[in-house]
């Protein structure tokens, strides 16, 4: 089987991109329990980085700084990534600048909100 595998080897950068796509897909299953839309379509993820060495950095916000569920959402981000990548380190940084606004919601998210 291995001898017949003609797929060219991926570069480190390509692997990182693939991992980021997978991680983004994982995060698109993390729901904001109140708004009932996933955090990717809500536009809550500001930055997503994977260093290729098992460390993921997520910079994200919340729809309101007063959100009483913030810890639960952050825990959900970390745990859902660790479900697939058990030995990864996930750093989540909550930021409120720039302040989240409606323009950050994706088209799919707007449809879900009935906007």
């Amino acid at each position: 089987m291995g001898l017949l595998n003609t797929t060219p080897k991926k570069t480190t950068e390509e692997i990182t991109e693939v991992e980021i796509d997978i991680i983004e897909n994982i995060l698109s299953h993390v729901m904001d329990p109140e708004i009932e839309i996933d955090i990717v379509n809500l536009g809550l993820i500001y930055e997503l980085d994977y260093d290729g060495k098992k460390t993921v950095d997520v910079e994200m916000t919340l729809s309101t700084p007063a959100c009483p569920l913030s810890d639960a959402i952050v825990a959900s981000v970390k745990e859902s990534i660790k479900q697939k990548y058990e030995d990864f380190k996930v750093n989540v940084k909550l930021v409120f600048e720039p302040q989240w606004h409606a323009g950050m919601i994706t088209e799919a998210g707007k449809l879900m909100l009935g906007m």
Partner: protein, 431 residues
């Protein structure tokens, strides 16, 4: 705000008993109202009506508000509650005081049991006030919402102090004016000072948060804060020491302008909201805010009229009814559906999030029952209002039976939430 308030969240052991006791109290209020329909069209200071009012205000509304406040404090004050233990002691002392106080009104034991139960109530509320005040002192950056809530707590202290003095006066007779005069001040300190400020403080956080509204003009809230407090302070001092004829109109206007600033703030949140579809909790909330206009107009009519007809007396009852059932209870029902599911959800599922598929907070109660309860409550309040105003017992009886059904539906949904058992499913596998 730092967005990490869950770490400051109180244990559900302190919050949940308040919601259960509140649900039971509303059921008791509905049953007693059904038994007291003749008193509803009599004088508003009837001892049974006063008993029901105190169960509604203390057992139902304040109990629910205390529970919600313990949960909301970390969000508004950005710090944890000063003492959870003190909160637990307060709960039991408060519950016993409500039973004793309401019973003493119901059996008209004004010179005996009422004295002791009022003193007990005074101390239980004092513990609550101390706990919240010490929590407020821990907050680093007081905001307009925390100012509303904290000032509301001072008004609660004033309300309770006057209430205890009225109770003591039944036996020792040291106050210079008639009881009804002080009862009027006591009621306004409680309804405007405690509840209205609290409602504005809590609603101005929760409404934009749940409707997803941004960039609201908080200056409107500041104006509302100063207008309402100055108006109420002037009104109380005037009633206590001057009893001027013209002053009350000016104070009514000042308080009214304050309320209009708040309504304008809510209107901005409503029109600028991202969440177009309102769930049952938000529907109650919007209606309760609109209904605020009803007691405001009724108060003006009562001020302008010199009549002492039975209709005017019933209008006085309707005035109190519209505040307690049209505004306060409406908002509490709404906010119960917006807070209790999250409190229970956090308690049951915060260790499972991300690892398993968890239900959504709204799936912890029956949405169908909540809808029936919502429409039933609107009809019940409408029927009881009409019944009081036109003195029609069949309408009052129908309304009060409907209110019992509403109270049962409310209690069933509270039980569904607090008795919810953790249920999780495996997450889909990512490839």
């Amino acid at each position: 705000m730092n967005g990490l308030q869950t770490a400051n969240a109180p244990s559900s052991k302190i919050v949940v008993p308040h919601f259960i006791a509140g649900g039971i109290s509303f059921l008791v209020v509905a049953l007693l109202l059904a038994l007291s329909t003749p008193e509803l069209v009599g004088t508003y200071y009837d001892n049974k009506l006063i008993a029901i009012t105190h169960i509604a205000i203390l057992g139902w509304a304040s109990m629910m508000v205390f529970g919600a406040l313990y949960q909301l404090i970390p969000v508004v004050y950005e710090t944890s509650l000063y003492s959870e233990k003190l909160g637990q002691v307060t709960f039991w002392l408060f519950a016993i005081s409500i039973l004793a106080l309401s019973y003493s009104f119901w059996v008209a034991s004004f010179t005996n049991l009422l004295i002791y139960s009022s003193i007990l109530m005074f101390f239980s509320l004092l513990l609550f006030i101390i706990n919240l005040h010490l929590t407020y002192r821990k907050t680093k950056k007081p905001n307009i919402q925390s100012k509303f809530i904290n000032t509301g707590i001072y008004w609660l202290a004033a309300t309770e102090l006057l209430g205890t003095l009225i109770a003591l006066n039944f036996k020792y007779n040291f106050l210079t004016d008639i009881h009804l005069h002080y009862l009027k001040i006591h009621a306004h300190l409680g309804l405007v000072g405690w509840f209205l400020l609290l409602i504005i403080g809590a609603a101005s956080i929760l409404i934009p948060m749940f409707m997803i509204s941004h960039k609201l003009n908080e200056k409107k809230l500041s104006y509302a804060y100063y207008f309402i407090n100055i108006g109420l302070l002037a009104l109380s001092l005037d009633w206590l020491f001057l009893q001027s004829k013209i002053g009350v109109y000016i104070y009514w206007l000042i308080i009214g302008v304050g309320i209009l600033f708040f309504l304008s703030y809510v209107k901005d949140a409503y029109t600028g909201r991202l969440r177009r579809k309102l769930d049952v909790g938000l529907k109650y909330t919007v209606i309760s805010v609109i209904v605020l206009i009803v007691p405001l107009i009724t108060a003006l009519y009562l001020l302008l009229t010199n009549d002492t007809t039975p209709f005017i007396s019933r209008l006085g009852t309707f005035y109190g009814f519209s505040i307690i059932f049209g505004v306060i209870s409406m908002l509490i029902f709404g906010q119960t559906y917006k807070t209790l599911p999250f409190i229970i959800w956090l308690d049951r599922y915060q260790n499972y999030v991300g690892k398993y598929k968890t239900p959504l907070p709204r799936e912890l109660y029956s949405e169908k029952l909540a809808d029936y309860q919502y429409y039933g409550y609107l009809i019940a309040v409408f029927l009881l209002s009409i019944g009081i105003l036109i003195k029609q017992s069949i309408i009052l009886q129908t309304g009060s039976i409907l209110l019992i059904i509403v109270a049962l539906l409310n209690f069933i949904n509270i039980l569904l939430m607090v008795l919810h058992k953790t249920k999780v499913e495996e997450l889909p596998k990512y490839k």
